[in-house]
Symmetry: C2
Subunit: 418 residues, 2 copies
C-alpha cells in the first residue's frame, strides 16, 4: 500500500477546505491508499515535521461535511516560492536557509520515507509554480510520484480554467454587500457617493462581481477595474454625471486600479502618517478624498477587506460543490499516475450552466494572470457588459447550509497553533 500527501497554500478562501474535503471523500470511498497525510503550512510542514494523519482526524462523514463548509485553511498556509531545481541560490523555508538541492532532496526523502505516491497542492498562482517545479524535478529523477495542483483563488485569475474555486463565494459576498449597502445608502434625501473598495490587485473579476447586485438594485453605478487605466478627471466627470440623474451613487473600485503610468492609486505618497511617512491609503480612501474635494458632496468609502474571502456563512453552494469535485478530479488524476497537472473545469457552451471536469498541463498556468477580456468592459472603462454578467450569474447560485450554534456559524475547529 502507498500513501497520499496534501497541503494548502496562498490566501484563504471559503472553498479551499471544500477541495480538501473532496480529496478526503475520494480517499475514503476508493480505499486505494493506506494513509492520507496533511502537511501544515503548505510544503513547509515537510521541513518542520508538522504532518497530520487526516484519516484519523476526519473519521466520519459529518466531520468531512463540516470541513467542506468551513472557510480559511484547515492545514494552514505558507507564502513560499521554491527555487528553480537547478538553482544555486539559497531559499529560506520555515526559517532555515537551504540550497535548491537540499530543498528538493528533503522533499523527495520525505516522499520516499512515507511512501507518498501522490502529492496534492491546493492553491493559486504561486502554489501552481510549486507544482510545476516539483513535478519537473520528479520527472528529472524518473520517480513515480504524481504532483497535482488543485486550484483556488478568490481572484479568479488562473489560466486554463473557466473560473477558480473560492471566487464564486467571494463574488456572492461582494454582490450581497453591495446590495445591502445600496439599501443602507438609500434612506436619506441628501445626495451621497459611496465608494466600495474590493480586492484584486491584478485582475478585476471580484470588482466586476459587484454588478450582480443589479438583480435587485440600481447598484453599483460605476465600476473601475485594473484592466483599464484610471483617470481622476474622467472619474469625477462620471460621478458628476451620475449625480445629475440619481441621488445615491455607489461606485465599485478594485484595490488594483492604476493610472496610465501603471502606478497604483494607493501608491500616492502625499498622505502622511503621524510619523510623517508616506501612507498607503487604499484606492477607496483616495477616491473618497478626491470626490470630497472636487464635488463637495457627502461621500464615504467602504473597504470590504478580508471579510470577502472568509465569509463562510455566505458561501456559494455551486462554488463549494465544484471545489469538492475538483478535489475528487485530482484524486482520480493521481490514480491515473498523472504528474504536473492541475484539476480544472470547463463550462460547456449552451443555455444552461454545465461544467465538465478535466486536468490541464501545469505549464502555462503557473505565474500567469488571466485578466478580464477588454470586450467584457464598456468602452469608457467604467462598467462591465452583459457578457460579464452572463459569465458571473451561475457562480453564486445556491446557499451553503451551515449549522449555527448559539447564534454563530459552527465551523471546523482549527488545530491549535503551537
Amino acid at each position: 500500500m502507498s500513501n497520499l500527501l496534501i497541503a494548502q497554500s496562498g490566501g484563504p478562501t471559503s472553498a479551499i477546505n471544500a477541495s480538501l474535503s473532496g480529496v478526503l471523500s475520494a480517499f475514503f470511498n476508493g480505499r486505494e491508499y493506506e494513509k492520507i497525510y496533511g502537511s501544515r503550512y503548505g510544503i513547509t510542514g515537510i521541513f518542520t515535521g508538522e504532518i497530520l494523519d487526516l484519516g484519523d482526524i476526519f473519521d466520519s462523514e459529518d466531520k468531512i461535511k463540516r470541513l467542506k463548509s468551513s472557510p480559511s485553511m484547515f492545514l494552514g498556509s505558507c507564502r513560499c516560492k521554491l527555487p528553480d531545481p537547478g538553482s544555486l541560490d539559497f531559499t529560506e523555508i520555515a526559517g532555515v536557509r537551504l540550497t535548491a538541492e537540499e530543498i528538493y532532496g528533503k522533499i523527495m526523502d520525505f516522499f520516499h520515507a512515507n511512501e507518498i505516491k501522490t502529492f496534492f497542492y491546493i492553491g493559486g498562482n504561486d502554489s501552481m509554480d510549486t507544482v510545476l517545479k516539483l513535478s519537473e524535478y520528479v520527472r528529472m529523477k524518473n520517480d513515480d510520484i504524481s504532483i497535482i495542483g488543485i486550484p483556488k483563488t478568490i481572484d479568479n485569475d488562473l489560466p486554463k480554467i473557466d473560473h477558480t474555486p473560492g471566487f464564486g463565494s467571494a463574488a456572492k459576498y461582494i454582490a450581497t454587500s453591495i446590495l445591502e449597502i445600496a439599501y443602507d445608502t438609500s434612506i436619506y434625501r441628501i445626495p451621497s457617493v459611496t465608494i466600495v473598495e474590493i480586492m484584486g490587485r491584478d485582475a478585476g473579476w471580484l470588482t466586476a462581481a459587484s454588478a450582480l447586485a443589479r438583480r435587485f438594485q440600481e447598484a453599483p453605478d460605476l465600476i473601475y477595474l485594473p484592466e483599464v487605466p484610471f483617470y481622476n478627471a474622467k472619474f469625477i466627470e462620471d460621478v458628476r454625471n451620475k449625480l445629475n440623474k440619481k441621488r445615491n451613487v455607489i461606485v465599485a473600485v478594485s484595490e488594483g486600479i492604476k493610472n496610465e503610468d501603471g502606478k497604483y492609486l494607493s501608491e500616492n505618497d502625499s498622505i502622511k502618517d503621524r510619523f510623517g511617512h508616506g501612507m498607503l491609503s487604499g484606492a477607496g480612501k483616495y477616491l473618497e478624498t478626491l470626490v470630497r474635494e472636487e464635488l463637495g458632496v457627502k461621500v464615504r468609502s467602504v473597504e470590504i477587506n478580508i471579510l470577502q474571502r472568509c465569509a463562510g456563512h455566505l458561501a456559494s453552494k455551486t462554488d463549494l460543490d465544484e471545489a469538492a469535485i475538483l478535489g475528487e478530479t485530482a484524486y482520480r488524476a493521481g490514480l491515473e499516475r498523472k504528474n504536473g497537472v492541475m484539476a480544472s473545469l470547463k463550462r460547456v457552451p449552451g443555455k444552461n450552466y454545465y461544467i465538465e471536469y478535466c486536468t490541464e498541463n501545469i505549464k502555462g498556468i503557473a505565474n500567469q494572470v488571466r485578466n478580464i477580456p477588454r470586450s467584457w468592459i464598456n468602452e469608457r472603462g467604467n462598467d462591465v457588459k452583459e457578457e460579464m454578467l452572463e459569465y458571473l450569474r451561475p457562480l453564486i447560485i445556491g446557499e451553503n447550509k451551515i449549522e449555527f450554534d448559539e447564534g454563530l456559524p459552527h465551523y471546523q475547529e482549527l488545530i491549535k497553533n503551537i
Copy 2:
C-alpha cells in the same frame, strides 16, 4: 373611523422594518383604524407631502413577512431635530426654514386633516426627542392624539430598555465577522496583529459583542471601549503581552475610543491628505500605524463599517421577532390612548431568557446615552467580563430565514427615489 401615521428616523438597522411590519400586522388584525399612512423621510414627509398608503402597498401577509426580513428603512429617514415648542429659532425642514410654531402647526394640521389618531416614530435617541417634543405639544393643545416611540438603534444606548432592536442583528454580524477573521488570520506561521474597528461613538456595546466569537475561537484577544480612557502605551504593552503567548492577535476597538482628555483617537490631525488637510483616519487605522511603528509586527486593520448595520442576511431572529412585537406593543399603546411613551422590553430575571413588553414614559429616554456599566469591563479596561457575555448571548440567537433569488437575498423592494 380614524387613521394611523408611521415614520422611521435615524440610521438604518436590520430590524427597523420588522417594527414597521409589527405595526402593520396589528393594524390588519385589529381593524380598529381605516388607514395606515407612512411618512417618507421621517417627519419631513409631512412637510413635502410624501405620504404613502401602507395598507395599499402591504396588501398580503407575504409582503409583510418580506418587509420584516429586510434591512434599511422602507420609508426612508431624516436627521431632523425639532425646535422646542416655545422656541423662536428657525429650523430647516426639507430645505425650508420654519419657526417652531409653523412646524408644530403644520404637523397638527396634517394630523387633523387626515384624522390621524396615533403617530408612531421608529428611531433612536434623536427620534425619541421628536416624540418627547411632539407629545408635549399635543398635551399643551389638549389634543387627543397619541405620539408613540418605537425604539431602534444598533448602538444599544437607549435608557429604559433592556436592549434595542437592531442591536442583536448587528451583534450577530460583528461576532460572526470576528470569528471568520480569526479563521482567516490563523493560517500563517508569522505573528500578526489584526485590529477590527467597530461602530459606536459613545457606547461600546457593539464592540463588546465581538466577545461572543469566543464561543468558537480565542478571539478577540483585547477589547477597547469608549467607556474607559485609552492610553497608547498601555495598549502597546497589552498587545506585546498577547504576542508573547499567541501568534495571531485580534483586537476589537470601538470607533469611539478616546484618550484621557476625552479626545477621539481619530481626531489626531497629524495624518494629512493629498491636499495637506488633517484627515480623520479612524481608530483602527491609527492603531495599525501605532503597532507597526512600536512593535514592527505584521499588522492590518479592518473597519467593519456600514455593513454591520444593514446585513439583513445575517440578522438575529430574536432581534427581528422582538422588533415586530415592539411594533405591536406600540399599536396597543395607541389603542389605550397613551401619549409620550416608548414601547419597551424588560428581561425577566432568571435562568432562561424571557422578555416582557411594556411602555415607558419618553421623559428620561430622549437625549440620554446608556453606557456599559463599568463593572462589566475588566479593571485594566481591555476586556469585558462574564456579566457582559451573559447579557449578550440570547440576543443573537436564531437565524433570519430569507429568500434567496439567483444567489442573492430577496429583500423588500425600495420605493424609487424621486
